[in-house]
């Protein structure tokens, strides 16, 4: 009997080692990150307090169980006691948990109040969730941009891409345009969404908050350390929910000022783009690029889509129909479907390019659309 026991324990140990050893070698992240904000550090501490309280309760409860299982067994000739209640014991183990819960409630309340009290903010950024990208608007500076999954990750994540994700730096956690923010600055975030509910989450900041269409949610942060912090959309938002990362680049205040100046310069350039008249070749080239980053995740590179959810564009009635109708669909979207209003996301010249591309490549119509044509179409 004893040798049998020892042998089974030994096998069990081997099994545990087989499972956990590779894990230990790889130095895996097991725990919450402490993060780079006061709030994330508070949350980390709260998490550790509650975790250790749970471990302590576990040791007591499981310890009593293990002792009882070892000692109070029939095979040891134990005679069963017949007690069936003890008011004293029951009162004690009702009161002790109440005290423990109160002990946990105090710091939890304090941290929560701090989070929900955005006072004296230095700047405001509006975050809008789209299927499946983020838009960041710097409300004080008057510019904004889209942030989508980085090209390398996007190629590697395609089924049968043949690319080993391990070879892609920051696989699925990299974007084309990160959110750039200054350190040691209180930033207010206003969160909303255009199509379905998303949730904006960067673990290093210590929180996630839902971006809900028709609502404007509020959250804030003050990053204490420069660096690049990565996260993901946390609320199921459809097919590519797993592929809309969040990247925050925290830089010094000086660097941030330079970056803002540069962005503003680009904005002036952008405005000029919307004024000028484009050649067809330029529109087609730019249109293809935009199509592949913004549209191909649903409609596919070849335009064939994934019917019925994501219809094919090839020879579709909308694509071949009136030019105005096509521009309207792209600019204002199709409510109740995954087709969002790209007028909120792209500039008029971008829209002109992508409509020209779609019209020519999938509709077989030899048309050119200028930014001014896009501007002329209004919501009906």
């Amino acid at each position: 009997m004893t040798t049998h026991r020892i042998r089974s324990a030994f096998y069990f140990l081997i099994f545990l080692m087989a499972v956990w050893l590779p894990a230990a070698q790889a130095e895996l992240a097991l725990n919450l990150s402490e993060g780079v904000t006061e709030f994330s550090r508070d949350v980390y501490q709260l998490h550790m307090i509650v975790l250790w309280i749970c471990v302590a309760i576990g040791v007591v409860v499981f310890g009593a169980m293990i002792y009882s299982i070892a000692k109070h067994r029939k095979s040891k000739g134990n005679k069963p006691a017949q007690f069936s209640h003890s008011t004293k014991a029951e009162v004690i183990w009702t009161i002790i948990p109440i005290i423990i819960l109160i002990v946990m409630a105090f710091p939890a309340t304090r941290v929560l109040i701090k989070m929900e009290d955005p006072k004296d903010m230095d700047m405001t950024i509006k975050i809008t969730g789209y299927q499946w990208k983020w838009r960041y608007d710097y409300l004080d500076e008057g510019f904004g941009f889209l942030s989508t999954l980085d090209r390398k990750s996007n190629l590697a994540r395609q089924p049968d891409s043949g690319i080993d994700p391990e070879t892609v730096p920051n696989y699925l956690l990299d974007v084309d345009n990160p959110l750039v923010v200054p350190v040691n600055t209180k930033i207010r975030f206003l969160l909303t969404a255009d199509d379905v509910i998303h949730s904006w989450w960067v673990p290093a900041l210590g929180w996630k908050r839902d971006a809900i269409p028709g609502f404007i949610n509020q959250a804030w942060t003050e990053i204490l350390k420069p660096g690049v912090y990565r996260g993901q959309c946390a609320e199921l938002c459809g097919k590519d929910h797993g592929f809309m990362p969040v990247v925050v680049k925290a830089v010094s205040k000086e660097e941030y000022r330079q970056w803002v100046a540069q962005m503003k310069g680009e904005q002036v350039q952008q405005a000029k783009m919307d004024q000028k008249t484009w050649s067809k070749a330029d529109l087609m080239a730019k249109g293809q690029e935009i199509f592949e980053t913004q549209c191909a995740s649903c409609h596919q590179k070849n335009g064939q889509g994934m019917p019925p959810a994501f219809p094919s564009l090839v020879d579709s009635a909308t694509v071949k129909g009136s030019l105005e109708g096509l521009i309207h669909t792209v600019k204002f979207g199709r409510p109740g479907t995954a087709m969002s209003a790209f007028g909120n996301i792209l500039t008029d010249s971008d829209l002109a390019a992508v409509v020209t591309y779609v019209r020519n490549a999938f509709g077989q119509r030899d048309d050119t659309v200028q930014p001014q044509d896009v501007a002329a179409v209004t919501q009906s």
Binding site: F12, V43, L46, S68, S84, H85, A105, A156, R157, L236
Partner: protein, 536 residues
């Protein structure tokens, strides 16, 4: 099972002949119980197969086997199948079999309705599962069906909503039947505070079902009209409110998790005293704890919504209320341990599963307390930490209790003992693999992996791999269970009427297998046969 020989004529054991009469038209609580249990087992394997495809895809980063959209369909239908198809019907099956026998009733109070409430279920799930073969596939917005995402679904919206309506009708009828049975059909002398805990927990669960299933039906009906008839209940552009849906859904959803776990508490409270050969510790406290958990379950729903942006006051209220649930739940755990304390325990399969339940459900409870802390939930919410939490509660909680119950009562149902050695294999394989499967998911969540994603960043590779290995071992170990049950039904060592030496309750006073009709004469119950018959 059916050994109807011509000579052995016993009017207690007249089973109708022929499949249609015996099963399709049955009004017998035991046969309906069997039907429910078989249905639940089939759905457990269908839902489990989906889980294995999910774990197969997640074995490595990158997309190897399924498209992201199909992945979402799998996570959605896996949950619906397991919750509404496996766990709930399994407990209804146990209730059907055991409640009349435990309270000394000849059958359920409403036997024809009983038949109907079962036979709705296969149709409900045929409708739901048929969406996999339609254009656009099955629903893919998660089992929580949040709008606006769910409204982007195609045809499957209507099928999903009607399937849920049918499941709801079935559950409500089952609940009415249980309440009517327990309130009216108890044998003389079976006072409320002498009822076995399994009966108590089911009585309370039945009230929860009646209270919340209509709420779910209302929520999905509004989805239906938003999708097909142009209403804007949940559409912000039309003046509706997508967050309102979440409030309504979780007003159903949180009591629902207690619908899934309270009967499990009942099962464990029957098994532990039987194998500790000692009365259940704190019977009355257990009843009150169950009732207070049920009450609290109605006022904590928004803890699923800490990140939607509630006002501070709301967040504090739902945090405190949720923490309170730890108290009655703690009472239950302490009472089970005290029942074991100074007993004379033996460790047959039902007891092993019950002990594993207490330990692993407690771990699920710990992560539950952590999730209740609102500011920390800003990190945990919608990550694998949550996935680990509810699988500890529902797999090593609810499902383990169901398996424990089957081993405990199988000899009573079939008249044969199961193969104890094989049952131990089943237990050890399951209990080890289920932890390999779900424990690493805590780490994944804390390290930042969101739930419901088909592909992941490379720092999550190792634990996903371990978890997938656990999943496959756990999944295939359950085939052993099917074999064991089948073998026991076929034959084996004859079981005595008491089956387990320490077991108490009226079900052990009738022969094994239990005759087709029990307790026809409505004789007063003998207190000595009951677990809680004497002073408590």
């Amino acid at each position: 099972m059916s050994h109807a020989t011509t000579h052995e004529h016993d009017h207690h054991d007249e089973k109708p002949k022929g499949f249609v009469k015996r099963w399709l038209l049955t009004t017998n609580h035991k046969d309906i119980g069997t039907l429910y249990l078989i249905f639940a087992l089939i759905m457990f394997f269908i839902g489990g197969a989906m889980a294995l495809i999910i774990r197969l895809e997640l074995f490595q980063p990158g997309l190897q086997f399924v498209q992201p959209d199909f992945f979402n369909q799998l996570t959605t239908v896996h949950a619906l199948a397991m919750i509404f198809g496996a766990v709930m019907p399994a407990f209804v099956g146990l209730a059907n079999w055991m409640i009349p026998m435990m309270i000394g009733a000849p059958d359920m109070a409403l036997p024809r309705m009983n038949n109907w409430s079962f036979w709705i279920m296969p149709f409900a799930f045929a409708i739901l599962l048929s969406t996999f073969f339609m254009d656009g596939g099955a629903p893919a917005a998660g089992w929580t069906m949040y709008p606006p995402l769910v409204l982007q679904g195609g045809k499957n919206v209507a099928f999903m909503v009607f399937a849920i309506h049918l499941m709801g009708i079935s559950s409500i009828m089952g609940a009415i039947n249980i309440i009517a049975t327990v309130l009216n059909m108890r044998a003389p002398g079976m006072d409320f505070l002498k009822m076995p805990l399994f009966v108590w927990t089911w009585l309370i669960t039945a009230f929860l079902l009646i209270a919340v299933m209509p709420v779910l039906a209302g929520a999905v009906t509004m989805i239906l009209t938003d999708h097909y008839f142009g209403t804007s209940f949940f559409n912000a552009a039309g003046g509706g409110d997508p967050v309102l849906y979440q409030h309504i859904f979780w007003f159903f959803g949180h009591p629902e998790v207690y619908i899934l776990i309270l009967p499990a508490f009942g099962v464990i409270s029957e098994i532990i005293p039987a194998f500790a050969r000692k009365p259940l510790f704190g019977y009355t406290a257990m009843v009150y704890a169950t009732a207070s958990i049920a009450f609290l379950s109605f006022i904590v729903w928004a803890h699923h919504m800490f990140t939607v942006g509630m006002p501070l006051g709301g967040e504090l209220f739902f945090m405190y209320a949720t923490m309170l649930i730890a108290i009655p739940t703690g009472v239950k755990i302490f009472n089970w341990v005290s029942t074991m304390w100074q007993g004379a325990m033996t460790f047959e399969a039902p007891m092993l599963w019950a002990i594993a339940f207490v330990v692993l459900f407690t771990i699920g409870g710990f992560s539950g307390i952590m999730l209740a802390i609102a500011p920390a939930d800003f990190q945990y919410h919608d990550t694998y930490f949550v996935v680990a939490h509810f699988h500890y509660v529902l797999v090593t909680g609810a499902v383990f209790a169901i398996i424990a119950a089957v081993y405990y009562w199988l000899p009573k149902w079939t008249g044969h003992m199961y193969d104890e050695k094989l049952a131990k294999w089943h237990f050890w394989l399951s209990v080890i693999s289920v932890n390999v499967l779900f424990f690493p998911q805590h780490f994944l969540g804390l390290a930042g992996m969101p739930r419901r994603i088909p592909d992941y960043a490379t720092q999550f590779v190792e634990f996903n791999m371990i978890s997938s290995i656990g999943a496959f071992v756990f999944g295939f170990s359950q085939l052993l269970f099917v074999y064991l049950v089948w073998k026991t039904a076929k034959g084996g060592e004859k079981a005595s009427s008491r089956v387990w030496k320490g077991a108490k309750g009226l079900e052990w006073t009738v022969p094994s297998p239990a005759p087709h009709h029990t307790f026809q004469d409505n004789a007063p119950v003998n207190d000595a046969d009951l677990a809680h018959g004497s002073a408590h």
